[in-house]
């Protein structure tokens, strides 16, 4: 799993001048995959980052075998992860046998690897899409209602980790993952003000809160009240 740390990995961003510690993000994501695999009695769990224009890469997986399985849908250009991302809706496949026609190449390949069921959860905040969390099981059958709730919670943790990017090594913001209307309104405002995609607007707001050591809700409130304008360049990142 060294690839995501390197220049070809999905989190490598040469535009940042500050030394990056992407391994901490990969580490956080891998812990989430491990925890999710255990909680959901899964064979493995993987997280891929994706963008609407088709860029993608595996960010983390619970183990190397799962990483290879996660890779298959990008190799073949078909599979539950790709469809869940496109639809912005989870795709729950309790029995892969039923999907041989739907995914003629993907299904035989993952079945060969021992997978019998796949559950794909888009990583998103409203209309901002970041990627997908995939749960692979070696037995057919649905997730229970409790397991499904847990899977959504792990997906939310992965979203939080991705948004914090390389800025953090701890889960400071996770406890207070903010669902206030004002925070979402601020995201829309930054989208228009900076002309960046919504996903980047989210990252900018969180980065600003972190850089100025202020609560996310307070920063969001200032943006909505027009007391704060984020700068077009990422000055808070380069200080």
């Amino acid at each position: 799993m060294s690839r995501p740390d390197g220049p070809d990995g999905p989190h490598w961003d040469p535009s940042h001048s500050k030394p990056r510690v992407p391994s901490s993000l990969v580490g956080r994501l891998r812990r989430i995959c491990d925890d999710a695999a255990q909680a959901l009695s899964a064979f493995g769990v993987g997280v891929s980052v994706m963008t609407a224009d088709g860029a993608h890469g595996i960010a983390a997986a619970s183990d190397p075998a799962t990483a290879r399985i996660e890779e298959l849908q990008f190799t073949f250009g078909e599979g539950p992860c790709i469809e869940a991302f496109a639809a912005s809706h989870p795709l729950l496949i309790p029995d892969l046998d039923a999907t041989a026609v739907r995914w003629p190449v993907y299904t035989p390949a993952v079945t060969e690897a021992g997978v019998r069921a796949v559950f794909a959860f888009p990583l998103q905040v409203g209309a901002a899409r970041l990627g997908v969390l995939d749960v692979f099981r070696d037995h057919a059958g649905s997730l229970s209602r409790v397991e499904l709730g847990e899977a959504f919670a792990y997906a939310e943790r992965a979203v939080s980790a991705l948004l914090d990017g390389h800025e953090r090594t701890t889960d400071v913001l996770d406890e207070a993952f903010d669902h206030s209307a004002e925070l979402f309104q601020a995201q829309g405002m930054v989208l228009v003000q900076l002309g960046v995609p919504l996903a980047e607007a989210l990252v900018r707001i969180r980065a600003h809160a972190f850089a100025t050591s202020r609560p996310l809700s307070e920063v969001a409130g200032d943006i909505v009240a027009r007391r704060l304008r984020l700068e077009r360049d990422t000055s808070e990142d380069t200080a």
């Binding site: 209309a127 649905s142 309104q185 829309g188 405002m189």
Partner: protein, 242 residues
């Protein structure tokens, strides 16, 4: 508060039935219910909250979505009558706000500061599961009698049924999916409010009215229009003209 008239109630049920066979827009449906319940009760603010997979109450729709009322509904995530109704599966009726500071340390002061005098909350029940709550916040002192309370509870349960209307559903797991999808739609609406407000230099409340009006006029879902706003900025020019 007087008992709601059977005639007005019948009209609400007809409207509900009409909406549910149409191209279904869950959030607009919940807003319509909140509006009608508010009307039946003589004008208090009525809001609907759904629980996310972690059991936290999240705002979905209200008869009045001005910022200060939104905050009042959002506080229910930490304390307040809605959270109590959610946790106990029992309605909270005619709670005395003046004596509630200890019971609801966050909710009571904010409610009082915006002139709230009467508060009630009802669980949204689906089969035996409570999936959220309906809150009623009035600026006038008033009591709900038993009949009013039963009517509001029935309408609250209808709101819960609406959640299942978007897709044909039989499995238990789908309820969780639907809840999650509804919460995502609501977030997109807030993101769109912010984007439009910033673009045309108006408040988020005015931006929301514009999005809502445009969705109605073009006969499309609120969440669909909101999604367009945040993913295709060019589409904003149409909405701005409204």
């Amino acid at each position: 508060m007087s008992t709601v008239s059977a005639e007005r109630l019948a009209k609400v049920f007809v409207e509900v039935a009409d909406t549910m066979v149409d191209e279904f827009d869950l959030i607009a449906f919940m807003q319509m219910l909140a509006d009608r319940i508010s009307g039946l009760l003589g004008g208090p603010a009525v809001g609907l909250l759904l629980a996310d997979p972690k059991g936290r109450l999240r705002f979905m729709a209200a008869s009045d979505e001005t910022a200060k009322l939104l905050e009042l509904f959002e506080i229910q995530g930490s304390d307040g009558p809605c959270l109590d109704a959610y946790r106990t599966s029992e309605p909270v009726i005619n709670a005395d706000l003046r004596a509630a500071t200890e019971r609801w340390p966050r909710f009571a002061p904010v409610a009082a500061s915006i002139g709230c005098r009467s508060v009630h909350a009802f669980p949204l029940r689906l089969r035996r599961v409570v999936i959220g709550t309906l809150g009623v916040f009035g600026t006038e002192v008033g009591d709900l009698d038993d009949t009013d309370a039963q009517v509001v509870q029935a309408l609250a349960d209808i709101a819960a049924i609406g959640l299942l209307q978007e897709r044909a559903i039989s499995r238990g797991e789908v309820l969780t999916e639907q809840l999650q999808a509804a919460l995502t739609s609501r977030i997109i609406i807030e993101q769109a409010k912010g984007a439009l407000a910033r673009l045309i230099g108006v408040s988020v409340d005015v931006a929301f009215d514009a999005i809502r009006a445009y969705a109605r006029r073009s006969n499309r879902r609120l969440s669909e229009i909101a999604n367009l706003v945040v993913t295709d900025v060019a589409s904003l020019s149409d909405i701005m003209r409204s």
